[in-house]
Structures are given as C-alpha cells and as structure tokens.
C-alpha cells in the first residue's frame, strides 16, 4: 500500500486541500496527517493522523518508518525549510520528499531574498524591505509576517500597530509597497527542470490575504514569466507565485508549497497534488500532465470537522488515530 504523509493540516494551511486532491486522484494511496490535535485536517480527508510538534523531523521520520510512509509533502513554509534541511535524513530512511536545497527555499520564504533575487533577474516587484519605525512610505502598504499572514496598513499608526503585533508573535515584519492592479496566482510543480502549472485570477481576497473567490485562466505571458522565475532559481517541488497585472505582470511573492486554493485544480482537470504523488512514487518519471480547463471558479467556505469527542481526547492522550471508514 502506498502511504503519503502531509503536514499543514490546520484550517489555515493547504494540507486539507492537498489531502482532498490526493484522495480524488490517487484513491489507492493512504493519506497520513502529521499535525496538532486541534488541526481540523487530522479528523477529515485522511486515513490516519499522528500528533507531532511543529518541525519535529525526528518524530515524522520515526513514525513514517514505523508506519510505512514512503513519501511526504510539507504544506507550510516553515516545514518546507525544515524538510529541505533534513533531506539527507529522509533519503536515508527511504522517504521521498520533493523540496529544493535550503538556500533555494529561503529565496522563497524570506521575502527580502525574493525581492533581491527578482530584482537581480530584472523581474519587477514592488519595493520590499524590513519594516522600521522610520519607514516613510505613504500608506497603504502591506506588512508580511511569516505564518501570521499579510496585513494592509492604511495609515502610519496602523502600520506601527501591525508591526508591533507581528514582533510579539515572533515574526520580523516585512513591508511591501502597494501596487494596484489585477491579482493572479500560479500554482505548480517543478520536477527535473520541468514545470506543470495552473493559473487563477483572484476575484476576491480576504483581509488576511487569503483568496476566497477565484477562476482558472491561461495566459502564455504569465506562464513564461513563472517558469523563468522558478526554473532560474533552481526550484524543485510544489510552489505558488503571486502577481499583480498592471501594464504587465509584477511579482508579489512566492510560497514554497501548494496554496490553500489548490483543490480547484481537480475541477480544472490538472490535479497537481496527485501528479506530485505519482512523481514521488515514480509511477511517472516525468511530468506528463499540463493542460487544464479554464473558467473553473471556486469560492472558499468554512466548514466543520465533525467527530466524536473521544477521538480528540484520544489524539491528545495517545497522539495517533488510525481512521476506519465508519469513524466519521
């Protein structure tokens, strides 16, 4: 039996959507969730769930070895970096992970490095710098704080307040200038120098930067720009690159994993997490799937993971659940 492990199983992270994609496209694959007891994705869409502390590679490796998990997909930016730094450990235990080298992951995760890299390659990107109280930009502008998300500062006072909050949360606030225009996003996989990707236009974005309404589109110019960017940096594995269209495309940021809207790719006919799963298990030696349907729209909605209280207590106490089909 093929077993694949996923992280990022909270309602804020893409793991639940990735699990849904894999279940749809690879029904023979057993999906294993790694997360915390209050991550909703530990209770839905998966075959077994194991409690691990964030970035606890040793625990993930130990459980994966014991339970026959032979491939992993990290679905949070910090996980991707931790996995990249531990690639040798995973390979030693026969666990496949498709992530780039750590220094390349940092090109995506560190927004200042992204800006420096894009600028060096002549790819236009709004000015991005570390926030300081002496920042003299006219609002609005954006403040980014790692796992805390993206915030729009509409006044100098608001910018200062947001930066204080982010620092209290242990993040370094990064400021990015506002650029008006139409927002787009490209999700994809890089494998062996080849790219498969899908693009959306974001039609509505929540205050925290989450895309809540979008539609699949196809633009050769955006495709070429994305490929140039990810291949040029030597990327491997899943990615999301965000753009603004304003007299051409301007890079906004890159994420080192699938986005939370990734399950639209099932409706569009290019199930990227399933493609990645097949690549990891070497049923495909190269990317064959590239075409997808445009005009497929999605709307994000909150829902509840419903289970028995003893499952949640069991997760805290025992740290694991092997789901049976009639558990939910």
């Amino acid at each position: 039996m093929r077993k694949i492990g996923l992280t990022g199983m909270s309602e804020k992270a893409p793991g639940i959507a990735v699990a849904r994609c894999i279940k749809t496209g690879c029904p023979d694959v057993n999906v294993v969730a790694f997360g915390e007891p209050m991550d909703a994705g530990m209770y839905i869409e998966v075959d077994s769930s194991y409690v691990v502390e964030p970035y606890d590679i040793d625990a993930i490796v130990k459980i994966s070895s014991a339970k026959g998990v032979s491939a992993l997909i990290p679905n949070m930016d910090d996980d991707v970096e931790a996995f990249a730094e531990s690639r040798d450990v995973f390979y030693e235990y026969g666990i496949d992970v498709l992530v780039p080298e750590p220094k390349i992951v940092r090109l995506a995760n560190d927004k200042l490095e992204t800006y420096a890299y894009a600028s060096s390659k002549g790819i236009t990107m709004p000015e991005t710098r570390r926030f300081s109280e002496y920042l003299d930009w006219a609002p609005p502008y954006f403040l980014k704080g790692g796992s805390q998300g993206v915030f729009r500062a509409r006044s100098i006072e608001e910018g200062f307040t947001i930066s204080q909050y982010l620092m209290q949360m242990g993040e370094i606030p990064i400021a990015q200038k506002n650029l008006d225009g139409e927002p787009y996003s490209v999700a994809g996989i890089v494998y062996g120098g080849d790219v498969s990707e899908l693009m959306i236009k974001k039609l509505k974005i929540a205050e925290n930067g989450t895309t809540v309404f979008g539609v699949t589109v196809y633009d050769e110019d955006l495709l070429s720009l994305t490929e140039e960017f990810v291949l040029g940096m030597g990327w491997e594995g899943p990615f999301e690159v965000e753009f603004i269209r304003n007299d051409g495309y301007h890079l906004i940021e890159m994420n080192s994993r699938f986005p939370s809207w990734i399950d639209v790719c099932v409706g569009a006919g290019l199930n990227l997490p399933a493609v990645l799963t097949e690549l990891l298990y070497e049923k495909q030696s190269e990317i064959k799937d590239r075409t997808y349907k445009t005009d497929v729209a999605f709307i994000k909605f909150p829902t509840n993971a419903i289970t028995d209280i003893d499952k949640i207590v069991g997760m805290y106490v025992g740290g694991a659940i092997e789901w049976e089909k009639n558990n939910m």
Binding site: Y218, R245, D295
Partner: protein, 79 residues
C-alpha cells in the same frame, strides 16, 4: 476574430463574455447580448431587425452601438 480566449454565454436574459486569459467578466445588457450573438453567429442583420422590432430605439443609434460593440469584441479577441 480569434475567439480562442473568450467565451460567450447567455444566462436568463443577459449574456456575458468571459476572457479566459485575464479572468475578466463582461456582463451585457439585453440588447448588447443580442448584438454579440448576432456577431458570433453571423446573423447580425436578423438580430438588428429583432431589436428594432422589440425595443424602442432608432436605427442610427443602434447601428452606432453595433459598431462600438464589434470594435470592443475585436479588441478583446486581439489581446
């Protein structure tokens, strides 16, 4: 006209054009919908007659609207 990137559809009494390259949605009123259908189906003269029969609009104004819509549609297709 290269229609590869655009899709026209009628929903109830109104049509809309979706540009699958940019994701832009152009919602049309009733008469504009009839005109676009006439252009796409190559029966524009019949559509013009239908509009003149059913709506209170003078022919010169209608023909100007038709020209504007055709130009806009061609620009969409060329992008």
């Amino acid at each position: 006209m290269n229609l590869d990137n655009i899709r026209y559809k009628r929903i109830h009494e109104r049509g809309y054009i979706f540009d699958s390259r940019t994701g832009d949605v152009h919602l049309l009123n009733e008469t504009a919908s009839i005109i676009v259908e006439g252009i796409l189906n190559n029966n524009l003269d019949e559509c013009i007659d239908k509009i003149l029969d059913e709506y209170e609009i003078d022919e010169d104004t209608l023909r100007e609207d038709v020209a504007d819509i055709r130009t806009a549609l061609e620009e969409l297709c060329e992008r």
